[in-house]
């Protein structure tokens, strides 16, 4: 082999190596986009729902309000809505037998009776009149309208039969089927029916957990970091604490779930499935992470600050509390926010302390049973209905949105208040 040939070979190897590096990065970036694309393409439709314009006859006789001249809200609330809703639902399309009647009714969501009732409560003027109301369609019709169900497969493999498809086409032609912003997804609790299931409960549950996590972990982590960075004598106890914190930061999150189950629920008897226990468990999990971040930012404060304070007669505690900690605040804050973002996305420990319960009501205090956003994602992704797939993706979009906001907040806090020494 001549010199030129060898050189050429070496340069080819160089180029190959470089290309492999680029390729590795390209693959990683490709995965990021694939993941986001998958989530966003399936999830965006969950923010809208399909409605069917239905004629509802608020007949006083059917409502059993005939004898009342001017019924007030209370009387309307206690009126008999069965006949009205039945007539409205079955009046969507003419049918010939009981089977078909059921098919017609199943085009509306399980919640349509309540929707009709709420309409009258909000618009008492409609009493005695025939009005057109946009009622939420069932999950199957919703998915069909959004194009998630193929139509050209045999009838027995479809969720909607030929008769129902026929009604759908008919209603579509009349312009009665609309796509509107879904009031359920963001503002209601979980449900077995995908079309009326929402994430409000999970959002509130996550919010409570994160707040509790913040209240517990931030002060403790900051004080621990101050002790280890500023006060700790160099001895075996300090060494043990330090090794312990570093190891704890790498313990799998599910182990903290076992700790929560065994200690918080088992020994201390705290209420199961609640955001309170979830928050405490998450705070134990994020504590080491936040301690490490706080220590790094305390370390970044130059010694001259401390020496200056000590020189004018401040005590050690005054030096630390009046000068070092305030100067390290941007770093500690952003570290805390990043730790909380990690806690927000955490699922496994919450599964073990029972935050996977099916909770319809939106929790109002941290001791109510609740779920959290990631757990809701897990729960819905295990459900069989097609409608929950888009809900899952949409919940992921929300969760990622919250995480992006928190991380940008952390970056902002650091950049805004950071000082160059």
């Amino acid at each position: 082999m001549t010199r030129e040939q060898r050189l050429k070979k070496r340069y080819t190897a160089e180029k190959r190596f470089r290309l492999m590096g680029i390729g590795a990065i390209a693959i990683a970036i490709f995965f990021v986009f694939l993941l986001l694309l998958k989530v966003f393409s399936t999830g965006s439709t969950a923010f809208v729902k399909t409605t069917i314009q239905t004629e509802v006859d608020f007949n006083k006789e059917l409502l059993e309000l005939k004898d009342v001249a001017n019924p007030n809200i209370e009387q309307i609330k206690s009126a008999e809505f069965f006949d009205v809703t039945y007539k409205a639902a079955t009046g969507l399309f003419p049918y010939s037998n009981a089977e078909e009647e059921k098919d017609v009714k199943q085009l509306l969501s399980g919640n349509y009776e309540l929707e009709i009732k709420n309409y009258l409560i909000n618009n008492p003027d409609a009493l005695g009149k025939k009005v057109m109301i946009d009622l939420t369609a069932s999950d199957d019709l919703d998915q069909l309208h959004k194009g998630n169900f193929p139509r050209d497969i045999p009838e027995d493999r479809r969720r909607l039969n030929n008769f129902q498809l026929n009604i759908y086409d008919n209603l579509l032609e009349q312009g009665k089927i609309k796509t509107v912003f879904s009031n359920y997804f963001l503002f209601s609790g979980d449900s077995r029916d995908p079309e009326i299931a929402g994430v409000a409960g999970a959002i509130i549950g996550s919010f409570f957990s994160i707040i509790i996590c913040l209240i517990i972990s931030f002060p403790i982590a900051l004080m621990a970091a101050v002790y280890l960075e500023e006060f700790a004598p160099k001895n075996i106890v300090t060494d043990i604490i330090e090794i312990n914190i570093n190891n704890l930061a790498a313990v799998p999150s599910i182990v903290f779930g076992l700790l929560g189950l065994g200690m918080l629920l088992g020994v201390f008897g705290l209420p199961r499935s609640t955001a309170l226990v979830g928050g405490i468990t998450l705070s134990l999990m994020t504590l080491p992470t936040i301690i490490i971040a706080c220590r790094a930012s305390l370390k970044a404060v130059p010694p001259s600050i401390r020496e200056g304070a000590l020189a004018v007669g401040a005590s050690k505690v005054q030096t630390v509390m009046h000068h070092v900690v305030p100067l390290a605040m941007p770093g500690t804050l952003s570290g805390t926010i990043i730790g909380l973002a990690q806690a927000l996305g955490e699922t496994a420990p919450l599964l073990l302390i029972g935050m996977v319960a099916f909770v319809v009501d939106v929790p109002s205090v941290p001791t109510d049973p609740s779920t959290s956003l990631p757990v809701q994602i897990y729960l819905w992704s295990e459900s069989a209905e097609r409608g929950f797939v888009e809900k899952t993706s949409a919940t992921i979009m929300l969760l990622i949105g919250f995480l992006i906001i928190m991380n940008s907040l952390a970056v902002w806090a650091r950049q805004k208040f950071e000082r160059k020494w």
């Binding site: 470089r18 995965f31 700790l259 065994g262 073990l352």
Partner: protein, 467 residues
């Protein structure tokens, strides 16, 4: 009850602060002496003395009152009842007593429980009374003591700062408490588990089927049941599945992560670094449940369709799908850690190599990489420990059946999956199944602890070498 006491305490503390502050001024004025510290420190001094003992009493009561009451009541129930009661029955009776006396119990209760309720309430009122008396005694005695000290013009700042330092120390000890809590709660259940199941059967048994293990009374268990129980908790398939999925994940993460780390550290321009690094780190910020969703709904079915087209039977929950997605999750971990260790290699090594005429890739392969190797090995070990402990991806995508297989296209299960499967839903603490989950948890904890310990040591040692 506690909230009222705490509110009282806060009020006392605040007024103590003002009291202490004005007291020292008066003392200084009357005796015309110089206070040894600023007046506000005497305020803090008085407030701390007033609140800390009383607060300790409240905390002590909150933690130990239920436990002591429970033991007292249970021993009384035990002595009252004719036959020996099991722990579960005692627990049930006790919780009925508690919920009835709190007014949350609906339904009929027997006379025995009614008398239990009476005992419980009388004990409770004694304990609450004792708590309140002690609480106020503590406030009064401690306040008088500190009042006396202020009169003597002690150095208040020193004392306050000492207490402050102690509080700081206690916070940093919280991490130790967490570790102790983990070990105690895991060990406690695990030991009970190992009294029922031989540890050898657990660590070396080849068959995992906890659903078969119905714990009937150990005394009159048939031979078949005993055999079933012994063979239900062989954890080898779980260890193998965990190792297998972690191996697949590392096959994905190590090459991609390492190459991108090398590229970012050695080749990338500033602009490429500025864009590439954060995008890769998005992968680290995505919650694991999202990866699980991705694996279960996109990657798994994708492999199955490919398999169908090739005529291979691929289960929709496969080790391959879970491992692949887990690998993607770990890429940023490996890449940023190896980026760091490569950056820590001194520039002089590279320049020496260039001076000998080596190309960039030759320098990286022959000089930088060997120099960074210990750090890279350390970071890979950290990544392995993360893969072993990862839960959501495997729960959602790897399957539940404990197959002892090395076929990546079949469903496999892992330690973490089984912990979740056993503990989600209702469980009773005494059943062998629940305790098995804790035994698995302890195994996982020890395993990751060893890996982390080794990895951190390697990384730190390596860092010191070039500092």
């Amino acid at each position: 009850m506690n909230s009222i006491l705490l509110a009282t305490l806060v009020l006392f503390a605040i007024s103590s602060f003002y009291f202490g502050r004005s007291k020292i001024k008066k003392v200084a004025l009357v005796r015309s002496i110089e206070p040894k510290a600023l007046p506000k420190f005497y305020g803090y001094y008085q407030a701390l003395w007033c609140s800390i003992p009383a607060f300790l009493i409240i905390s002590f009561w909150t933690f130990f009152e239920p436990i002591i009451l429970k033991n007292l009541i249970e021993s009384r129930i035990q002595s009252m009842s004719l036959n020996e009661l099991s722990k579960d029955e005692l627990n049930l009776i006790y919780s009925q007593i508690v919920s009835f006396s709190q007014g949350t119990f609906t339904g009929q209760i027997s006379n025995g429980i009614k008398s239990g309720v009476e005992t419980y309430q009388s004990l409770l009122s004694v304990s609450q009374g004792a708590k309140i008396v002690l609480f106020f005694c503590a406030i009064i005695i401690a306040s008088l003591f500190s009042f006396n000290q202020i009169n003597k013009n002690v150095h208040a700042r020193d004392s306050v700062e000492k207490i402050f330092t102690i509080i700081l120390f206690l916070s940093s000890a919280a991490a130790i408490l967490t570790t102790i809590g983990i070990i105690v709660s895991l060990l406690f259940e695990t030991i009970q588990f190992f009294t029922k199941i031989n540890p050898l059967d657990f660590f070396f048994g080849l068959n995992w089927s906890p659903q078969k293990a119905f714990m009937s009374d150990p005394a009159n268990m048939t031979a078949q049941e005993a055999k079933d129980l012994r063979e239900a908790f062989g954890a080898v398939p779980l260890f193998a599945g965990t190792a297998f999925i972690a191996f697949i994940a590392m096959c994905v993460a190590v090459p991609i992560g390492l190459y991108s780390g090398i590229y970012l550290a050695e080749y990338a321009s500033n602009k490429q670094r500025k864009w590439g690094k954060p995008i890769i780190e998005i992968l680290a910020g995505v919650p694991t449940v999202v990866y699980g969703f991705f694996a279960a709904l996109t990657v798994g079915p994708f492999f199955r369709i490919i398999g169908e087209n090739l005529g291979i039977n691929v289960s929709s929950e496969s080790a391959l799908a879970a491992g692949l997605v887990m690998g993607v999750m770990i890429i940023p971990f490996v890449s940023s850690l190896s980026d760091d260790v490569i950056n820590a290699v001194p520039q002089s090594l590279r320049e020496g190599s260039y001076a000998l005429g080596a190309t960039k890739s030759e320098t990286i392969k022959k000089v930088v990489f060997p120099a960074a190797l210990p750090g890279i090995v350390g970071s890979i070990l950290l990544a392995v420990s993360r893969a072993i402990g990862e839960t959501m991806i495997v729960v959602m995508a790897a399957g539940l059946a404990a197959n002892l297989t090395i076929n990546p296209l079949e469903a496999t299960t892992t330690i973490t999956t089984q912990i979740v499967m056993i503990l989600v839903g209702d469980q009773e603490f005494t059943s062998a199944k629940t305790q098995a989950a804790f035994a698995l948890g302890l195994t996982l904890f020890v395993l990751t602890l060893i890996l982390n310990f080794i990895a951190l040591r390697i990384v730190n040692k390596y860092r010191e070498k070039y500092d």
